[in-house]
């Protein structure tokens, strides 16, 4: 058992947990968190793919891809949270009416 196998399995499990959360949970913030877990799981798999047995250096191209993915996921999260806040406000206004 080398680190790439251990963390590869962990990344796959995190992706699966996130996917389940995104489709099966009802709460909007938890669904969003599920998607975020999917992105971290995918990051695990990419970084495992870039890993080489030391002392060989890892492949930097997947690393750059994952950094890009982290920033894109933050952008998507911020947009989704703005939608959640707005939806919540509209529903609260409906409840008062």
């Amino acid at each position: 058992m080398t680190p790439d196998l251990i963390y590869g399995a962990a990344g796959l499990a995190v992706f699966g947990i996130g996917l389940w959360g995104a489709i099966a949970l009802q709460d909007r913030m938890r669904r969003l968190l599920g998607l975020k877990l999917c992105s971290v799981g995918a990051g695990f798999v990419l970084i495992v793919g870039a890993w080489r047995e030391p002392p060989a250096a890892p492949d930097p191209v997947p690393h750059a891809l994952v950094i890009t993915g982290i920033v894109v996921m933050l952008s998507a999260t911020a947009a989704a949270l703005a939608l959640i806040r707005r939806l919540h406000d509209l529903e609260a206004a409906d409840d008062r009416a």
Binding site: M1, P3, D4, I6, Y7, A9, A10, L12, V14, F15, G16, I17, L19, I23, A24, L25, Q26, D27, M29, R30, G34, K36, L37, V40, G43, F44, I47, G49, A50, W51, R52, E53, P54, A57, P58, D59, P60, P62, H63, A64, V66, I67, T68, I70, V71, M73, L74, S75, T77, A78, A79, A82, I84, R85, R86, H88, D89, E91, A92, D95
Partner: protein, 322 residues
Amino acid sequence: MSEPLFLFDLLLALAVVAIAAAALLVRDAFAMIVLFVVFGLLSALAWVRLAAPDVALAEAAIGTGLTGALLLKTLHHLRARGMAGWEPGAAAPRPVPRAVASLNAGLTLAVVAGLGVAILGSPLRVTGLEIAVAEAMPLSGVDNPVTAVLLNFRAYDTLMEVVVLLAAIIVVWQVERGADAAPAPSLGPIWQGFARLTLPAAAIVGVYLLWAGAEAPGGAFQGGAMLAAIGLMLLLTGLYRPHPDHRATARLLFVLGTVAFAAVALLVAGAGRASFEYPQGHAKTLILLIEGLVTISIAVTLTALFHGREPAALKGELRHDP
């Protein structure tokens, strides 16, 4: 692989998976966010073990720190507006029919099994692009391979990434346009002293991360996230209050990085060179110029994403600042 490190890897991987599941299943939304932050930091630790320190820094600062702050800010907003389902110990959600629940679980298992087969079937530890990158490193102008890929070899990807960040702030401002003024979270006066003590140090760390990115782990995104943390602290302590008059400056700073990045790409083109084909000997200068301006844009955009609604003088909330 020596025994203690093997145990460490195994325990860390188990903790990451267990905390990911716990974050989704815990009842209280605040506990969910705290568990998510712990999950993100442990993931970053795992990525250090996989020899990816640049990615670990980005995940800790952006994927965990700033994402956690955005989640907490939204939770504050939802709880301040008061709605059943957001209070701790609220009523359970609508029950899901058993057939739907098993369909969801089955679908997830099928996707994970398919991915697992695909990953196990793919050749492990084959040579990827690292040899091509290593051969081109002397021409890249920097010594950190990840920075070379991000800002030289695959600079188009990074330009698009900056555009996505710009799109995010446009979406957030548009979605919340016309919404009532949200109750802003505030830390109170004691934190102002803390902020005055720590902010200069945070600024130095942020600029250091940007500068070190040329030869060591770090770079524009990690440095920008560190500087955005200063912005969050200024907002939370009330040392800076967004004002409608600041919108023009903010918009300018949002687009600064994208414009500078695209301008360099276009200006180096010509004379037989493609865009992003930096002239010999000037690569380091151009990369630092792009990184510096992009860092400013990232920091301001991330701070604005945290603040959310555009600071606009709408009817009913005209400000009367002294």
